[in-house]
């Protein structure tokens, strides 16, 4: 596996200054759609690359789980960002974000059906044919299920990974959120996923609202999600862990403390 190593953070323009000051940082993730492919990389990223900090382009709008063929222009953009950032890995979600000409504005879950497995595998194969590097697929957090699931989450994900040969980007906060909202056992999922295929893991904060736990990325990481990181590492520590924060950025000291906690829970070197 030539993917990222250690504790990293989602690079966003708003916290570029903070990220630049992290002495032990080995990798970041950038939202692929926010990187223009005409012209230079966003300010701050070239300096990180020069320091040897790895960059993983993370797509959020490919809609790999759409029943319609993935848009070749979007795949070409992700491929171009991978080249620009000298990436060794890219990632996207097992989800769809548009259908019937309408944008959902969010990652939506697939039915856990054989038909959906085929749809996502076909689109992943289309993307893999154009991407210069391997792809890691990320299961999402969702508040609802489809009425006609044929497979459970572990079987659904394992089949997609087996058929595509893709790596797994395991979002621990998503596992935590889904288990909380559906009353399922997150440890059972960890026990049944192919953890040897995990390229890296996401961790993010969320909040309770309307009786549901929402994976907001704008709140602190809850203790329960950190405990789940510990459970994951006890089974098989992923090569890398990434803290995601989108909007409502806290003071630097708070973000540093969150990164330190992540390093402590996983046993990775501190990056602050």
């Amino acid at each position: 596996m030539t993917g990222p190593i250690g504790v990293g953070i989602g690079w966003r323009p708003e916290i570029a200054g903070f990220v630049a000051e992290l002495p032990g940082l080995r990798f970041v993730e950038v939202i692929a759609e926010s990187v223009p492919t005409a012209g230079p990389l966003p300010a701050g990223l070239p300096d990180l690359r020069e320091r040897g900090v790895a960059v993983v382009p993370h797509g959020v709008r490919l809609s790999l789980g759409g029943a319609e063929p993935v848009d070749p222009a979007r795949v070409a953009h992700l491929a171009a960002v991978a080249v620009l950032t000298d990436a060794t890995l890219v990632s996207e979600h097992i989800a769809f974000v548009r259908a019937g000409g309408l944008e959902a504005g969010h990652l939506l879950p697939l039915p856990r059906s054989r038909e959906a497995v085929t749809a996502v595998c076909t689109n992943v194969a289309r993307a893999q044919a154009e991407l210069p590097v391997p792809i890691a697929l990320e299961p999402i957090a969702a508040l609802f299920d489809w009425p006609d699931d044929e497979l459970d989450e572990a079987a659904f994900l394992t089949e997609i990974l087996d058929r595509t040969g893709a790596h797994l980007l395991l979002d621990v906060a998503n596992v935590y959120a889904n288990a909380r909202n559906r009353g399922t056992d997150p440890l059972d999922l960890l026990d049944r996923l192919p953890l040897e295929r995990v390229a890296y893991a996401h961790v993010a904060g969320g909040a309770e609202r309307d009786g549901y736990y929402h994976d907001t990325h704008t709140d602190p990481v809850p203790r329960g999600a950190l405990d789940l990181v510990g459970e994951l590492c006890a089974r098989r520590r992923p090569p890398a862990l990434l803290l995601e924060r989108d909007g409502n950025y806290p003071p630097a000291a708070v973000l540093r403390a969150e990164l330190d906690t992540l390093a402590a829970v996983s046993g990775f070197p501190v990056v602050t």
Binding site: A67, A99, G100, G101, G105, L143
Partner: protein, 168 residues
């Protein structure tokens, strides 16, 4: 009657109008979440409604980031005003959404002064974008106004010429 195949081989699923394709079902779900369509059959309504509300909150945040003065001008009323406007209206991109909302509020006389100034500045400096497209800067000298706010653009520089009137 369920069609049967050879022993041990599951029967192929019937296709036709009775069994909508995955594409049609995904389209129906997006329409329900983002365009006010009724929930597709079989889905539990409560979590779907929670997902719809979460989507509206996320959109409100994205539009506020693109139109900070408009959102600030509405203050604590922002989530409610945006939510009422956006409910049942699919996104055309955060920037275009904010632009359309500002124009609609102006039309009914409810655009706050900060929002009027922001709208005037944007209209002076940028072309009204196509849905889903980012706004393009204007090259020729131009001006924009919203209520009593007036902004001009010359050589790529936009200045607010006259601020919006504040209510006494």
């Amino acid at each position: 009657m369920i069609p049967t195949g050879p022993v041990g081989v599951p029967a192929a699923r019937t296709t036709g109008p009775a069994v909508p394709t995955l594409a049609a079902r995904q389209a129906a779900l997006v329409a329900a979440l983002a365009a006010g369509a009724p929930p597709p059959p079989g889905f539990t309504p409560e979590p779907l409604a929670a997902a719809r509300r979460a989507l509206l909150r996320k959109r409100a945040g994205e539009v506020a980031r693109n139109w900070p003065l408009l959102a600030a001008g509405l203050g604590p009323r922002w989530p409610e005003v945006f939510g009422r406007w956006a409910e049942g209206r699919p996104t055309a991109g955060a920037h275009r959404d904010g632009w359309d909302l500002a124009r609609d509020l102006r039309a009914v006389g409810e655009l706050p002064p900060l929002g009027a100034e922001e709208l005037a500045v944007w209209q002076a400096g940028h072309r009204y974008p196509k849905p889903g497209r980012p706004p393009r800067p204007r090259r020729l000298p131009s001006w924009g106004h919203a209520g009593s706010a007036v902004a001009i653009q010359f050589a790529g520089r936009v200045r607010l010429l006259r601020p919006a009137r504040r209510r006494p």
